[in-house]
């Protein structure tokens, strides 16, 4: 079941679009903000609410990079793996980050605290390497700052 808040947020955005299909991406992102990912159950609920088939919704969900159809940890660390960050040594920083957390890229820590995912250019190339945690940008990311930054996330 969609929560009251999820439903309210979705309904408040419906007026931005002339039909419910155009609302589907926004609706999935709203559900994801509340639950961390888009579950099979919420796809069925959204299908009912928006009058679209589950297959259509899933076809859209799987096209886009930021819609997750698998669970993640409490905090999602997105590491930019695009060209400027690559030049500035993001590969090394990323493997150090993964080693510290004891996971591989794409994995979730055993305590469910962090998931580390690659992401394309975050538009912070003049302060590479760039990392985004729960939507907050961290620029000039380097080995020395990993612990200090991760400590901000419970």
């Amino acid at each position: 079941m969609l929560s009251v808040e999820e439903r309210k947020e979705i309904e408040s955005k419906l007026a931005d679009y002339p039909n419910s299909q155009a609302m589907s991406i926004e609706a999935m992102l709203i559900v994801q903000r509340h639950r961390g990912w888009v579950t099979d159950e919420s796809l069925r609920d959204l299908s009912e609410l928006l009058g679209l088939s589950v297959a259509d919704l899933d076809g859209v969900a799987t096209f886009y990079n930021l819609i997750r159809r698998k669970p993640v940890g409490r905090h999602v660390v997105h590491v930019c793996d695009s060209v400027s960050c690559w030049i500035m040594g993001v590969e090394r920083v990323c493997s150090q980050l993964c080693t510290n957390l004891g996971i591989a890229l794409g994995g979730t820590t055993a305590d469910g605290r962090f998931t580390v995912l690659p992401i394309v250019c975050l538009g912070a190339c003049d302060h590479a390497p760039a990392v985004m945690i729960d939507g907050k940008l961290h620029e000039d990311f380097n080995g020395q700052r990993i612990e200090e930054i991760l400590a901000q996330y419970e």
């Binding site: 931005d16 679009y17 002339p18 039909n19 299909q21 155009a22 609302m23 589907s24 991406i25 926004e26 999935m28 992102l29 076809g59 859209v60 096209f63 886009y64 990079n65 930021l66 819609i67 997105h78 793996d81 695009s82 060209v83 400027s84 690559w86 030049i87 500035m88 992401i119 394309v120 250019c121 975050l122 538009g123 912070a124 190339c125 003049d126 302060h127 590479a128 985004m132 939507g135 907050k136 940008l137």
Partner: protein, 423 residues
């Protein structure tokens, strides 16, 4: 030097508020435009030589002149700000939206007025959370000030703006794929014609314009096309946001006259290479542009001159390659991006780019062969303009084709030495 786009930025990089924006002369361009006939606004923009800042450089005023006007024109008409900025190495639109959100909004309203659009969308990449917060606040402020909504400033013209957060995919920046994404579909590009100006969002006339392009429009109306043309050092009008990333002393973003030479940007503004490093080349305008090298450093960075040098101005944000970074590795990183972001609609693109990436990866591991070099050259021809459904694939092979030309001996060393010499 005049800096219409960034001159109003606060030193602390917080968003300029509505009150601050108005105090600095904000929304004067809109007031002036509302006194003009829409066709005259389009004519003014045409005369300014403003060309699109999203990469292709299409003349903006000319694009607007294809929109059906008059009482028989279909409605609603749409104006979309392309704020998808996902071209690796590009960080200009984010700065414009975060630091001066009202500038984009005013540019949108004036552009919408010129084509008599009813509804606007800002198609914003999902990762730009700070831009989202600041634009949402600015839209609310503009609505409260009657710069948006019904009967704007008593003119009889009405226009609203909705903020759409994208769920992310590089192809969404391509304007027809963007329309499909806004409609809630998988973001495959559409066949052209029909062009969006005639049949775009939900089949209605639609103009899609880059953020930086839109930010110029009300300045042009306010100060006139001659003023705008004079800002430039060459024939393309205006200033340009130029960026530099990579191992230079001071990576960053600067608003400079259009046509500022590459060397001046790299040396005077970015401070030159870091100590001990040598310049080997640069992608002048993001990941999908051909490398330029030392011999091109005096090229004025505008559309025509960069094209003559064999590349594209693209987004105007350069990525610099130094002599301690492997050019083959860099191209592998770029093709990894393109292979991943191909929308999968047409086979030469999705299959060819996956193949290309695999070969480059093998080369980096010391497993490349001479035959692989031929295959890479073949791919650059096979994915050239005309062979794929959209401009994504030709852009994807631009850095590869130029790297094969300028860094041929580095490719050979990977093959002959069975290793990456930089590792």
């Amino acid at each position: 030097m005049e800096r219409p786009l960034t001159g109003n930025f606060r030193a602390d990089r917080e968003a300029v508020s509505l009150a601050e924006y108005e105090r600095a002369g904000g929304y004067q361009g809109l007031r002036k435009a509302l006194q003009m006939a829409p066709a005259d606004v389009t004519e003014t923009v045409k005369n300014s030589n403003l060309r699109g800042r999203g990469g292709a450089g299409f003349p903006t005023g000319m694009k607007w002149s294809f929109v059906p006007m008059g009482k028989d024109a279909p409605h609603p008409k749409y104006l979309v700000a392309n704020a998808d900025e996902m071209e690796p190495g590009t960080f200009k639109d984010r700065a414009l939206m975060e630091c001066d959100p009202h500038q984009l909004i005013e540019g949108m309203i004036v552009s919408a007025y010129a084509i008599a659009a009813d509804i606007g969308y800002i198609f914003l990449r999902g990762e730009y959370v700070r831009s989202h917060e600041r634009l949402a606040r600015a839209i609310a402020e503009a609505q409260a000030g009657n710069y948006l909504g019904n009967n704007i400033l008593g003119s009889g013209y009405s226009f609203t703006i909705h903020l759409h957060a994208s769920a992310g995919r590089y192809i969404c920046g391509e304007e027809t794929a963007l329309l499909n994404a806004l409609e809630g579909k998988r973001a495959h590009p559409r066949t052209k014609p029909p062009f969006p100006q005639v049949s775009g969002l939900w089949g209605k006339p639609t103009i899609v314009q880059n953020v930086e392009t839109l930010c110029n429009v009300h300045h042009i109306v306010n100060h006139g096309p001659a003023w705008f043309r004079k800002l430039s050092r060459t024939e393309d009008g205006g200033t340009k946001l130029y960026g530099v990333s990579g191992k230079v002393k001071r990576p960053g973003l600067w608003e400079l006259p259009m046509g500022t030479p590459m060397r001046e940007i790299l040396e005077e503004h970015a401070g030159g290479m870091r100590d001990g490093l040598r310049f080997r080349g640069a992608l002048p305008g993001g990941a999908s542009t051909d490398f330029l090298v030392e011999q091109h450093l005096d090229t004025p960075m505008d559309f025509g001159h960069v094209q003559k040098a064999g590349s594209r101005l693209g987004t105007g944000t350069m990525v610099v390659l130094d002599d301690q970074t492997c050019p083959v590795g860099m191209v592998w990183n770029l093709e990894h991006f393109f292979a991943q972001e191909s929308c999968g609609w047409c086979t030469p693109c999705w299959s060819g780019l996956a193949w290309t990436e695999k070969i480059l990866f093998a080369m980096e591991q010391g497993k490349g062969s001479l035959h692989d070099l031929e295959t890479l050259t073949f791919q650059t021809k096979f994915l050239a303009p005309g062979n794929t459904f959209c401009a994504f694939a030709p852009g994807a092979v631009e850095p590869l084709q130029s790297a094969l030309k300028y860094f041929a001996s580095d490719f050979r060393r990977h093959i002959d030495e069975h290793r990456c010499p930089w590792r």
